[in-house]
Symmetry: C2
Subunit: 453 residues, 2 copies
């Protein structure tokens, strides 16, 4: 069977279930803890924050497959299947014997894979009869995706956007408005936690952790609202498994077996989704793959963080999660251009990394933009800075193959497009980009403030 | 056979030829004339401006099918086939019995259908051993597309960008730089015609017609360079026929026959491409379709222009074309937000319109943005303002079906995405958009200046 340049599954081949990686983990990820009692959060406690079905998914470490509701499948058909593309032109440019494939998730207006979970979370909120949801957004991909999903299901959507992004990315803000969302720069005076942060840090540009605190406060204090999150959580990785399951169906169909699977990692939503079914095989001893998480050198939670319980937000109103973390008030240096700026990492991925089931590497941003531009010129797609972390390492691996002569098969996740990141590209062109990396002393200072559990 | 939500042709089903609509026209479009002698332009005369193979295509009114060279097919496979999508959600929102399909051309970094011709023109320039090409761009879609194509084939690319767009759309500029193009705001002091225009109109924001004059001057005065154009020309419509041929193959496969085919029309590249094979059937008497061109009320060349010979550019250095035109120095009012601002219309489409083979309608921009936002909220894609002209009229036709109870099949062209048009969306949200339409007196004043031929 001849392998097409781009593999699109037919509608009948598209997955009808999400795969819950936790079901195949012998040692499960550590549970979320109540910040007051340090006891595992119960479903009842979580249901004030998240809607009921999502709480069930969050706590369910056993069910292997979740059928995707028909309404969500309908929405998925608006922009899925995403193509699995053979990067022939990149291979040729690198003169590598490696075969490079990428799963491209940018073919939708949100511009990224975030929509896969946004539509699921909006659907369950609607099912529960809620009025709306609240969330935070940094670079803006998640907020855009959630706005689209809420518009589709007729839900109100309140987005707290990290203030520095709100100001630097007016177009992101405007897209969310096209979809009818309200967008508030964070920290704001609309919440108690926002006012407190503003008082302590006047003039602050905000952070993801701080925007999370505000969004959670608004959700729990407004009847008919719940909070939703675009990464880190188990439920999000569950929904994002659609990326990996589609990729695996497509590869199996043509008898392609990846040797190396590479994904960028901020909170872990894309990486966790892309690798899910492959990691499942690895956990069950059915196959082996090298799995590589790529993070920015300016926010290196896996490669330089601590595996410990920590707060998910700056205001410390959220449950504690056991994860690789840099400390809940760590904020990457202002020169850091893209997303991937969360202080922690998905508990599922943290546990797998701790078990030695995957590798992690960090890369400086100038090298990332060089890779992004090289990729754009031959493959045509303008990649998001986040996605370009994976491009960089995929190119490095392909170059290594050129040197060793090995024809390895590389699969990487191209999570989204860079249309809203041209200020960063402009900085790169003008030589205004630098590669500040936090010192050991800085990281130790943040780590010292981790809660003692 | 069940019809998928989105129809993607397989690689083996993708068209391997462009369809030359002129071959099926009994009365051919009028030839380009030499502005000095008023005689038809010869291949020799045109070859100083365009590369040789493109001159051949420009003048060839007889060959029905042009095989697409393998290198162009390879490039097409990077982003084609484009999906033919059934707009179920839009139908539901409009409560219409009509079946609405759209051919979506925005799934590539240039964000529009322009890439279909850009890659062809860059390929032939490379084949001829040229160093590079020059062009103009207004809204920026064509310049982006050409930059991508030139980057792929290793050609130099000099873009003259209408000054007002250069300043208002810095991101468009930056994307072109990602692909290695040089971008000059027009009018500029790099050309004689630019200096002349600057002297006569100091402080002007420029126009497409003026940027064309500069780009042509640079092409003819630099050895190894030729000029390329993204619309209007016969060759461009030939390349863009890939849109319509793909759409027709997909529709034929599932036994779908459109009653109405709708496309936005500026210079005519998208409309001419989309309708090509359908219009061919109509010309040969094999089928009948209503074919509707949609233009902005602020630049109404078909609906309010004159069918006459006119200059293609402001500097009057280009050949004369017989087309529906508003006059070569007509510039839409500054409030006009999107593209579709060229003073004339493709000679092929002009001739077909004159023969009564298609209809034309003009729409005001506020109504266009209302349609765009309604479409985005249910169909997920953020449409370009240009494309939204077709959306508006497709919605109007679908609403008419609701009223008459007819279950017509509507096909429209969704030419691109609006990621770089968020300043316009912001104006729309803030109520700063108005619908200025030129008066009859204004149009008569421009028409009076048409060359006497």
């Amino acid at each position: 069977m001849e392998i097409p340049y781009k593999i699109y599954l037919s509608e009948s081949e598209m997955p009808r279930y999400w795969y819950n990686l936790r079901a195949d983990m012998q040692k499960k990820p550590a549970p979320l803890l109540n910040p007051a009692t340090h006891q595992p959060m119960t479903a009842a406690e979580l249901s004030g924050v998240f809607c009921d079905e999502l709480v069930r998914q969050e706590l369910d470490n056993d069910t292997r497959e979740y059928p995707i509701p028909e309404e969500i499948l309908s929405f998925y058909r608006m922009y899925r299947p995403s193509p699995l593309v053979r990067a022939y032109c990149l291979e040729e440019k690198l003169k590598t014997p490696a075969k490079i494939y990428y799963k491209f998730e940018g073919n939708n207006t949100s511009g990224s894979h975030k929509l896969n979970s946004a539509v699921a979370q909006a659907y369950y909120a609607k099912q529960q009869g809620l009025k709306g949801v609240t969330t935070e957004t940094g670079a803006g991909q998640w907020g855009t995706a959630l706005s689209m999903a809420c518009s589709y299901f007729g839900l109100d959507c309140k987005v707290y956007m990290v203030k520095v992004s709100y100001e630097q990315k007016p177009f992101r803000r405007e897209v969310m408005k096209v979809y009818g969302a309200s967008v508030t720069p964070s920290p704001s005076d609309t919440t108690a936690v926002g006012r407190k942060i503003l008082q302590e840090h006047p003039g602050t540009g905000g952070s993801l952790g701080c925007a999370i605190s505000e969004a959670v406060e608004v959700a729990v204090s407004n009847p008919g609202y719940r909070y939703v999150l675009g990464s880190v959580l188990n439920q999000v990785l569950l929904h994002q498994s659609v990326i990996g399951v589609e990729a695996k169906i497509a590869m199996d169909k043509y008898g392609i077996k990846p040797d190396i699977i590479i994904g960028c990692a901020g909170g872990g939503s894309n990486l966790g989704g892309l690798i899910a079914p492959f990691m499942g095989e690895k956990l069950r001893g059915e196959a082996d793959y090298r799995i590589v998480a790529v993070e920015p050198a300016s926010c290196p939670s896996l490669t330089r963080g601590v595996y410990a319980y920590d707060f998910c937000d700056t205001g410390m109103v959220c449950p504690l999660a056991k994860m690789y973390t840099l400390g809940s008030d760590f904020i990457p240096a202002p020169n850091h251009a893209g997303g991937l700026r969360y202080h922690g990492m998905s508990p599922v991925l943290s546990e797998l990394y701790d078990q030695g089931m995957m590798e992690a590497v960090s890369v400086p941003q100038t090298a990332v933009f060089e890779a992004a531009e090289a990729f754009a010129r031959v493959e045509g797609i303008l990649p998001a800075p986040e996605s370009s972390h994976a491009i960089k390492v995929a190119m490095d691996e392909a170059i290594r193959c050129r040197e060793t002569g090995e024809a390895k098969t590389i699969l990487f996740g191209l999570t989204g497009t860079g249309y809203f990141d041209l200020v960063a590209y402009e900085k790169f062109h003008n030589g205004q980009m630098d590669d500040y990396i936090p010192t050991d002393e800085e990281l130790a200072r943040y780590a010292a403030k981790l809660p003692k559990i």
